[in-house]
C-alpha cells in the first residue's frame, strides 16, 4: 500500500535527533499505557496477528503518523483495531476523551474500516514455514521487483519497486504478510535477500563504490530479469 509509513528514500532531509535514547523509565505514562494495551489486544485476539497490526498502523491519519510519535502510532492502531472488532465505538472513545479534556479540534490518528474476515492468529513461536515447492530463484540470480503498488499490506517498499537486484540469500518459507494481514491465511512464500546497487535506486545520491541496499523480499514480489547487464 502506498502510504506515509513507507518512508524509505522520501525527500525532506530532516536532521536526526541522535541524542534520543530509549529512556523507558522517564517517558510519559501514556506510552506505557499504550504498550500495555497493545499487549492486551494481542492476548485477546483483537490484534489478530502482527501483520494486521502493522497494517493498522499504516492506515492511520498521515499527519498523526508523522507527528504523534511511535506510541501515538500504536495508539491509532489500537483504536482502529478495537473499533473494527466492534469492541468499542468511535463515539464512545470521543465521549470519554472529551470527559478527560480533549477538544473536537484535536487530531485523531485512528482510521477504522472493516475488519477482514478470516483473520488467523500468528504462531507465537515463529513465522518460518517449510515449503514443499522449491525456490524459484538461485543465489546470484538477477531479479526485478514488482512495478505496481498493491492496495493492501505489503513489505515491498515503494523505493524498491521495478528495480533490478541480485539474490544474495534464500531463507526458505515464511508467513506471507500480504495475505496474513487480510484474513487470507498464512500462504507462506519463499523469502530472499536481494541486494540493489544504491546508485541504481537513486542515481543522484552521494556516490560510493559498491554501495548497496539489501531487502528481504517474498517470491511474489519478484520476477526473473533475463537481460542482466
Amino acid at each position: 500500500m502506498d502510504g506515509i509509513h513507507d518512508q524509505g528514500g522520501r525527500p525532506g532531509n530532516a536532521p536526526i535527533d541522535t541524542d534520543s535514547g530509549a529512556a523507558a523509565a522517564l517517558d510519559p505514562r501514556w506510552h506505557a499505557a499504550v504498550f500495555a494495551s497493545i499487549n492486551a489486544l494481542f492476548a485477546s485476539g483483537v490484534a489478530a496477528n502482527t501483520d494486521y497490526f502493522r497494517h493498522a498502523i499504516e492506515r492511520i491519519d498521515p499527519d498523526c503518523y508523522l507527528e504523534h510519535g511511535y506510541y501515538g502510532r500504536w495508539l491509532g492502531a489500537a483504536e482502529t483495531m478495537l473499533v473494527e472488532a466492534g469492541v468499542i465505538s468511535t463515539a464512545e472513545i470521543d465521549a470519554r476523551a472529551r470527559e478527560r479534556g480533549a477538544s473536537s479540534a484535536d487530531r485523531v490518528a485512528a482510521r477504522p474500516g472493516t475488519r477482514p474476515e478470516g483473520l488467523t492468529p500468528g504462531d507465537a513461536g515463529s513465522a518460518q514455514r517449510t515449503l514443499a515447492a522449491a525456490p524459484r530463484y538461485a543465489i546470484g540470480e538477477r531479479v526485478r521487483t514488482a512495478r505496481d503498488a498493491q492496495p493492501g499490506h505489503t513489505r515491498l517498499p515503494a523505493y524498491a519497486r521495478d528495480a533490478v537486484g541480485t539474490v544474495i540469500a534464500w531463507h526458505d518459507g515464511w508467513v506471507f504478510p500480504d495475505s496474513h494481514a487480510h484474513g487470507r491465511g498464512e500462504d507462506p512464500q519463499h523469502l530472499y535477500t536481494i541486494a540493489f546497487e544504491r546508485s541504481a535506486l537513486w542515481p543522484d545520491s552521494e556516490a560510493g563504490p559498491g554501495d548497496t541496499v539489501c531487502l528481504d523480499l517474498f517470491e511474489p514480489y519478484l520476477c526473473p530479469e533475463p537481460d542482466a547487464p
Binding site: 524509505g8 541522535t18 534520543s20 535514547g21 511511535y70 524498491a160 544504491r198
Partner: protein
C-alpha cells in the same frame, strides 16, 4: 447510587498518585540523610536502559572477537549463536549478523516500520523509529552517519540492510586495535548499541 465520573476519576487519580508520592518521599529522605547520592538513581536507570538489552549483543560481539570458531558460527548462523548463549528474553526467529570490514560498513534500518533486533539489542532508540532516519539512511547513509559523528573513508562500501521481513539484523563491528589486550568481559562492556546498529564505529 448515581455514577459520578468526576469523583471516580479523582479517586482513581489519588490511588494512582499514592505510589509515586511514596517513591518520591523515600528518595528525598534518603538523599537528605546522605544515604543516597542524588545522581545514583538516574545513573542506574540509564545503565539499565542502555546496557541490559544491548549487553546481549555486546556479549556476542566480544565472544566473536576472541573466538574464531564462534565468529564463524555467528556470521553463518546468528540464530544458533544466540541460542548457545541462552539470553534472558532472547528469543529470535532468525538473526543475521553482518560483519564490518575495512572494505564494507553495514548499517541496519526498517524503513516500513521499526523492526529491530530486540532480543540482542533491547529497546530501540527513538531516532531509529522516527521518519528522519528511516527515510534518509537508505538513500544517503554517509550523511546520516556523519550526523552520528561517523566518517567513513571514500573507498569503504556502505551496505544498508532494510529489515522488510521477520529476519533481524545486527552488525558485528570491527575490533579497535587499541582494544587488542582487553579481556572478553572488558570488551563486552565497551561495545555500544549504536555500533551494532551500524551508525557508530568503535575506537
Amino acid at each position: 447510587m448515581t455514577h459520578d465520573p468526576d469523583q471516580e476519576q479523582d479517586q482513581q487519580d489519588d490511588h494512582a498518585a499514592e505510589p509515586a508520592i511514596r517513591a518520591e518521599a523515600l528518595e528525598s529522605l534518603l538523599i537528605e540523610k546522605g544515604i543516597l547520592d542524588p545522581a545514583a538513581v538516574d545513573e542506574v536507570i540509564e545503565r539499565y536502559n542502555e546496557r541490559v538489552g544491548p549487553m546481549n549483543g555486546a556479549q556476542l560481539v566480544a565472544r566473536a572477537w576472541v573466538d574464531e570458531d564462534f565468529r564463524a558460527l555467528l556470521l553463518r548462523d546468528g540464530t544458533e549463536a544466540v541460542n548457545r548463549f541462552e539470553f534472558r528474553g532472547g528469543q529470535v526467529d532468525k538473526l543475521v549478523v553482518v560483519e564490518n570490514t575495512p572494505a564494507v560498513h553495514n548499517v541496519v534500518v526498517c524503513t516500513l516500520c521499526s523492526c529491530y533486533p530486540w532480543a540482542v539489542l533491547g529497546l530501540p532508540p527513538k531516532w531509529y523509529k522516527d521518519p528522519a532516519y528511516r527515510s534518509r539512511v537508505v538513500r544517503e547513509p554517509r550523511a546520516v552517519l556523519r550526523e552520528f559523528g561517523t566518517r567513513l573513508d571514500d573507498d569503504v562500501s556502505v551496505r544498508v540492510w532494510d529489515s522488510s521481513a521477520e529476519i533481524r539484523y545486527m552488525v558485528l563491528p570491527e575490533r579497535p586495535p587499541a582494544w587488542a589486550d582487553l579481556s572478553e568481559e572488558q570488551l563486552a562492556s565497551r561495545v555500544t548499541r549504536d555500533s551494532m546498529i551500524g551508525v557508530e564505529v568503535l575506537a
